[in-house]
């Protein structure tokens, strides 16, 4: 177990380094919400999900939907680390002709399961995937994981999807909420308070697990519990720090959507070495 945790921590660190490097090269993009989700994404891609990077459209694979699509760098970093494409390609992020669009584009990049970027829609798509996979696979159906932002859940459509997933008892669907308490205009509880989150999801007939979203052991345990939960979808509400891993970015609203300058890239990479 300790070995597994160490391995996943190292993968998360590698993902964070990629995030910084590609955003520095791109000159624009969203570091804060990418960094806050790195540990969750590391567990999903390097432990939880059944995937075949050699055969990205393998029908038996699990699905990941990055509903908070602006965190595209964390997804691209994981896909590159996993071997879906050469790591050098990360440096094409946001450039003309790149498969690495500013927000994930499933038509361009194998491994991206849903095009996202307009907040509030990914959970519905994940629900549709889970329903469709269950139709064919029944009990042993592939699983679908959707990563949501805490600001994102202000969108009404999230709650339409939450209601429907609870109603249809879609237990092959797991949502993970990146609860970093920051959005663009400030702290989530100041802009538009979303708390109490656990009570809300429970009221929509979801199984709710609350964890520290940077504790690999807790993430692993929560995923296991989600997989074992029958008759209900599960949401993992993961307390996180926006910008996690780069001291000057942590908890800073200004790092939501600004790329680091070369000297900042250098310092960040030193911290993530």
């Amino acid at each position: 177990m300790d070995q597994k945790i160490a391995f996943l921590q190292e993968r998360a660190r590698a993902i964070r380094r990629h995030i910084i490097t590609m955003l520095g090269e791109a000159g624009s993009g969203h570091p804060g919400g990418s960094l806050s989700a790195a540990d969750i994404v590391s567990v999903l891609f390097f432990d939880t999900m059944k995937l075949d990077p050699e055969n990205p459209h393998w029908p038996g694979r699990d699905r990941f939907v990055l509903s908070k699509g602006h965190a595209a760098p964390v997804l691209y970093a994981a896909l590159a680390e996993k071997g879906y494409f050469p790591q050098e390609e990360l440096l094409t992020l946001r450039k003309l002709g790149s498969r690495l669009q500013g927000h994930p584009d499933m038509k361009k990049l194998p491994g991206v399961e849903m095009s996202t970027g307009s907040l509030g829609q990914g959970l519905s798509a994940a629900l549709g995937m889970a329903l469709g996979l269950r139709l064919d696979g029944g009990e042993g159906a592939q699983r679908v994981y959707a990563l949501l932002g805490d600001g994102e859940v202000q969108e009404g459509q999230i709650w339409e999807a939450a209601m429907a997933a609870g109603h249809f008892k879609v237990d092959n669907l797991t949502a993970i909420l990146d609860y970093n308490n920051l959005q663009i205009d400030g702290p989530v509880d100041v802009v538009m308070n979303v708390a109490p989150l656990a009570d809300k999801w429970r009221a929509f007939n979801w199984h709710v697990i609350e964890i520290d979203g940077h504790d690999i052991g807790q993430i692993l345990k929560a995923i296991e519990e989600a997989q074992a939960t029958k008759g209900k979808p599960t949401i993992i509400i993961a307390r996180t720090i926006k910008g996690k891993g780069v001291s000057f970015m942590e908890n800073q609203v200004g790092w939501h959507g600004n790329a680091p300058k070369p000297e900042q890239v250098e310092q960040a990479l030193k911290e993530l070495a």
Partner: protein, 313 residues
Amino acid sequence: MTKKIATRDAYGQELVRLGADNKDVVVLDADLSKSTKTHDFMKNYPDRFFNMGIAESNMMATAAGLAAVGKIPFASTFAVFATGRAFEQIRNSICYPRLNVKIAATHAGVTVGEDGGSHQSVEDIAIMRALPGMTVFVPADAVETAAAIRAAAEIKGPVYIRLGRSGVPVLHGEDFKFIPGEAVTLREGTDVALIATGIMVAVALEAAETLAAEGISALVLDVHTIKPLDIFAVVEAARKCGAVVTAEEHSIIGGLGSAVAETLSEHHPVPMQRIGVRDTFGESGKPEELLQHFGLTATHIAEAARKVIAKKK
């Protein structure tokens, strides 16, 4: 009198047949299955039917997810809610990723009748036509509807199918061949081309009869596919007749009339008039009264035809 069938009824019946032939077909509705006629599919294939409740945005993006795992979802609700409430879901979750979702929207146009303007979509063709990669079908009768549903299931990518609430005459025989993107010349003519879509095709045929009695030879082109538009057929009709009238149960802004005007202004400008709802919302009334009220009758088409003929050089 010819037999009348609402295109929504033809949709519901064809959907059941399609469901038998293709197990990948799934259907979503938003608490309107009795009106959109998807409830027959629900009765036959309950496992493949999802009532999403009154939540159209979620319905469209859920359909996208179903398509992403290989299903062929048909999502139905009224045209106002499909293209209005869920526009951005259709744009970003369906069209942008080119997912294989079929949107079968019923109760389009003013022939919704008594429910009034809040429920009468006069702008849905304009909205759907503007989306890259979207195919737009507007069937004229029950036969075209059944064929359009079959064709939609074959097409790989998003399709919008515009259906009506009220009964319309059956124009085509069993041998009718529906080819997506190919307009159908229902009547040859040389003086004026009446280019129509949806329920206005039958009305245009009636107008052609009226004009024939006056010695005016009207061509009638049935444009069941608004997008991709049959540019060749439209230009040919304009070339042959030298004057065009378009007719649609939709705003004159952004629909068939606009599509034809765009095409002809680039390729073969001729005198032209658009019959349609003139930049206003609908209102309550009986469908027949509303068609009269909004100028969507054979009399109005014939009058427009005389005007454009008079403008010919």
